[in-house]
């Protein structure tokens, strides 16, 4: 009889209220192999990981078997004791302690005594790095002084020193430079050859295809495919992750060719993005997409000088600008709708009309005295123009639905009569109907001549709204698509840093 697999999931499911995050996922992980787990945001990858590491307190449907025995970790400590080590995107380290102290961190410091013998601990640490990863390290160095790669290797060694048999890596390469990724992969393969299993979660198809032996693909909480290394194919993977190719219902729009509203030349921000150049015409909707960490949201913020880029030039209506703070960008006619409505956009303790008039206070007041009548008029005219559903302009902002709150943020800028609106994740966290409505609003405002830059990870939205889509990968544009020339798979492919596909236009 063959021994049971290391880990077997049977019809694993999890729902949060009415939202089903994971539906009847069954899969097996064997010893000494590297598995990939792929899927879009919201496909259920992190839910699966959190169940395995005990973060959901054992509250799930279906069964998990570890070595053929039922396993339902109720907290991270239980999962760790059972031999499951997890790396989250946020690395839990103590930057002011040494490498060795981080490896053996615990109430007894690796079981030495009340007085730790640092030379011995450091020698053990060095020995572990050598035998497990074949890596030389200075164990006395503060971990905060080490590079991102060293920090991850330290966590690997820490998990292994606690007898981990399955190591789950959640997007471990986002913070790493390419050379460090190669070193991490060498270390991971070494661990596999020592019989340890790894579950590697990544958005990046090239990395998944290079490293893993098998790939499981999740979509909408379901396991949709399971591929062996021999049959890996980038196109197939990308389309499986994205689901069926969507029919493009994009309307064609004419964008006048005049002086660009905004022109960006060789914009750069150290460590975030480099050498970005593009133009936005009046009435044009420019989409920018890319994975988390690709520089997408940093670019959005840099266009509003929050904070400004370090290098390059921005021209508004053909005139060069020098922005130091958001105020300068506002004065030039730029508006910014941030991705996190609640923490960066709205003031919960102010009413709707004050939230609406906030960027416009000067025109609503005479020498500091706020005219409530004018504020109310402004609120009512914006309400009519954008069809914001509210009981009363003086009602609390929290009484509005997510979609209407987003409209309030757009309206706030419309009151300043801007030339261009930068929106980060324009419809995150609003329901489907409101998504549609906000999309229509953006198209209507663009027809009136307002230019838009939509920085979004929602590909469907960009394909529907944007006249042009620029794709960022690792801080550079990898592709540009005109309306109607791209599919979801193309965008996913380009976001993953793959080379340009037919249909894309090279960026000069």
């Amino acid at each position: 009889m063959t021994p049971p697999p290391l880990l077997r999931l049977r019809a694993l499911g999890k729902s949060f209220g009415r939202v089903i995050a994971l539906r009847a996922v069954s899969l097996e992980l064997d010893r000494g192999r590297i598995y990939g787990l792929a899927g879009e945001n919201g496909a259920g990858k992190s839910t699966l990981v959190r169940i395995l590491c005990g973060a959901h307190g054992g509250d799930f449907e279906g069964q998990i078997e570890l070595d053929g025995r039922p396993f339902a970790p109720r907290n991270p400590a239980e999962a760790e004791a059972a031999g499951i080590g997890v790396f989250h995107q946020e690395i839990p380290i103590c930057p002011n302690l040494s490498v060795a102290a981080n490896v053996f961190l615990g109430p007894r410091m690796g079981g030495t005594s009340v007085f730790p013998r640092w030379p011995a601990i450091e020698a053990r640490c060095r020995q572990l790095f050598r035998s497990l990863l074949d890596h030389e390290i200075d164990p006395g160095r503060l971990l905060g002084d080490c590079g991102a790669a060293e920090r991850q290797l330290t966590l690997l060694v820490r998990a292994l020193s606690r007898q981990a048999r399955l190591i789950i890596l959640d997007e471990p390469t986002t913070a790493l430079a390419p050379g460090d990724v190669a070193r991490l992969f060498v270390a991971l393969r070494r661990l596999r050859d020592q019989g340890i299993s790894l579950l590697f979660i990544s958005h990046l198809l090239p990395e998944l295809m290079e490293l893993t032996d098998e790939i499981y693909i999740l979509r909408d909480g379901r396991l949709v495919d399971h591929l062996q290394r021999q049959v890996y194919d980038a196109r197939h993977l990308a389309s499986q992750i994205a689901g069926k190719p969507l029919d493009e219902t994009a309307t064609s729009r004419q964008v006048p060719a005049t002086i660009p509203r905004l022109e960006v030349r060789r914009l750069g921000c150290k460590g975030r993005f480099q050498d970005l150049s593009f133009q936005v015409m009046p009435g044009e909707i420019l989409g920018v997409t890319g994975l988390q960490g690709s520089g997408r949201s940093d670019l959005a913020r840099a266009l509003f000088a929050a904070p400004p880029a370090d290098s390059g030039t921005i021209l508004v209506q053909g005139a060069e600008t020098r922005w130091l703070r958001p105020r300068d960008a506002m004065a030039a006619g730029i508006g910014f709708v941030p991705d996190d409505r609640n923490t960066l956009g709205l003031f919960d303790d102010l009413d709707i009309q004050r939230n609406l008039g906030l960027c416009q206070l000067k025109s609503l007041a005479t020498s500091g005295w706020l005219h409530r009548g004018r504020l109310r008029e402004l609120a009512e005219s914006l309400q009519r123009r954008l069809q914001i559903k509210m009981a009363h302009p003086a009602a609390p902002i929290t009484s509005l639905s997510g979609g209407n709150q987003q409209k309030v943020l757009i309206a706030r800028w419309l009151a300043t009569k801007p030339l261009l609106l930068v929106m980060s994740e324009p419809t995150r966290g609003v329901d489907v109907g409101a998504k549609e409505e906000i999309g229509k609003l953006i198209l209507r405002l663009a027809d009136e001549g307002l230019a838009f830059i939509l920085c979004s990870s929602d590909l469907d939205e960009l394909l529907r709204l944007a006249d042009r889509i620029l794709v960022l990968h690792a801080g550079r544009f990898t592709a540009e698509f005109r309306r109607g020339t791209a599919t979801r798979a193309d965008l996913i492919h380009a976001s993953a840093g793959a080379n340009r596909l037919p249909g894309s236009v090279t960026i000069p």
């Binding site: 380290i93 302690l97 961190l105 109430p107 030495t112 009340v114 730790p116 160095r141 002084d145 060293e150």
Partner: protein, 335 residues
């Protein structure tokens, strides 16, 4: 199956080797240089600053603040504050004095009673912060006022004095070792040694650093961070109690208002000594030097005959300069 090896050779990836805990060393050394530099400056300006008498006096004056500041450092390293130490300091003296004068208990037992009261107050602080989940700034601000009120109520606002001549007062605060060294300096040295070993040489010390550095990571490593914080609140309260007894011994007087503002001076000393207010960084030696620098400036200015009101302003200036220098040192370390 080893197709991917050989590994990129390890030599080029090894970081340039630095002495261990480079930043911490530089920071402590910087504070030491500052302490010596300020001393030299005053010696040049104010004759008499370098006299043995003055230096011993300086250390004696540092004793109470230093004892509290070093314990405060341990607490701040674990990520919390204690604003109630000044009040605890008063409660200790008042309780010990009352137990002796009113209840007629043996003075040594009365002293132990004062320390027990201090420990109980520290226990309450720990409970508020770890079990009630209060922010330690708010929690100890509240208990500071409660404890001060307790000292006032117990003593009816009156100072306790005219204690008889007993060995207790000599041993705790008045005696001079070898005929010249005031005994509080001995207690400062003993307490400093104990705390140095605790924070920098034991596993407990590592758990304190880890708790303040990244509580999440410490919890995941199996460290009971709540317990660490509770113990550290006991430690600051004990330090306040010890300092309270030293003051009682030296002055042979106890007032319910004594130690007002001591908590802020202790935090200031810790900060001058390089302790990060965000937790995870700090050293016992630095806190001692911080307390010493503050005492140096006060005595130096007195010897120079400066206006007494100027002293606080100067100490404030030193705090600002010290914090700016600390941030520079931290920022200059590699990534």
């Amino acid at each position: 199956m080893n197709a991917q090896s050989p590994i990129p050779s390890p030599e080029p990836v090894l970081p340039p080797r630095r002495p261990l805990n480079w930043t911490a060393k530089v920071r402590d050394l910087g504070v030491l240089v500052a302490a010596i530099g300020i001393g030299v400056a005053f010696a040049l300006i104010a004759p008499g600053f370098l006299s043995t008498y003055n230096l011993l006096n300086l250390l004696r004056q540092t004793a109470e603040l230093g004892i509290i500041a070093m314990a405060m450092t341990v607490l701040i390293v674990s990520g919390e504050f204690d604003l109630s130490v000044g009040a605890t300091y008063a409660v200790t003296g008042v309780v010990a004095g009352l137990l002796f004068q009113v209840a007629g208990i043996n003075i040594w037992l009365a002293g132990c009673g004062g320390l027990s009261a201090a420990l109980f107050l520290g226990f309450l602080n720990g409970l508020l912060v770890t079990s009630a989940r209060m922010n330690s700034f708010i929690a100890t601000l509240a208990t500071m006022m409660v404890f001060r009120g307790l000292a006032m109520v117990l003593s009816q606002g009156q100072p306790l004095s005219s204690f008889p001549d007993l060995a207790f007062f000599e041993v705790v605060g008045r005696a001079k070792l070898f005929g010249s060294i005031p005994v509080p300096i001995l207690w400062l040295a003993v307490w400093g040694f104990l705390l140095y070993v605790l924070l920098h040489r034991t596993t407990y010390g590592v758990t304190v650093f880890a708790t303040g550095d990244n509580r999440e990571a410490a919890n995941l490593a199996g460290i009971r961070t709540d317990r660490v914080k509770r113990l550290n609140f006991l430690l600051t309260a004990l330090a306040a109690g010890v300092a309270g007894l030293i003051s009682m011994g030296y002055l042979k007087t106890v007032t319910p208002t004594q130690g007002t503002g001591l908590e802020l001076e202790a935090i200031a000393a810790a900060v001058i000594g390089g302790t990060s207010m965000r937790g995870g960084v700090g050293s016992v030696g630095g806190a001692f030097l911080g307390a010493l620098i503050m005492a140096e400036i006060r005595t130096g200015l007195v010897l120079m005959g400066t206006n007494a009101y100027l002293q606080d302003a100067c100490v404030g200036l030193i705090i600002a300069i010290a914090v700016i220098l600390n941030m520079r040192i931290s920022a200059s370390r590699g990534t």
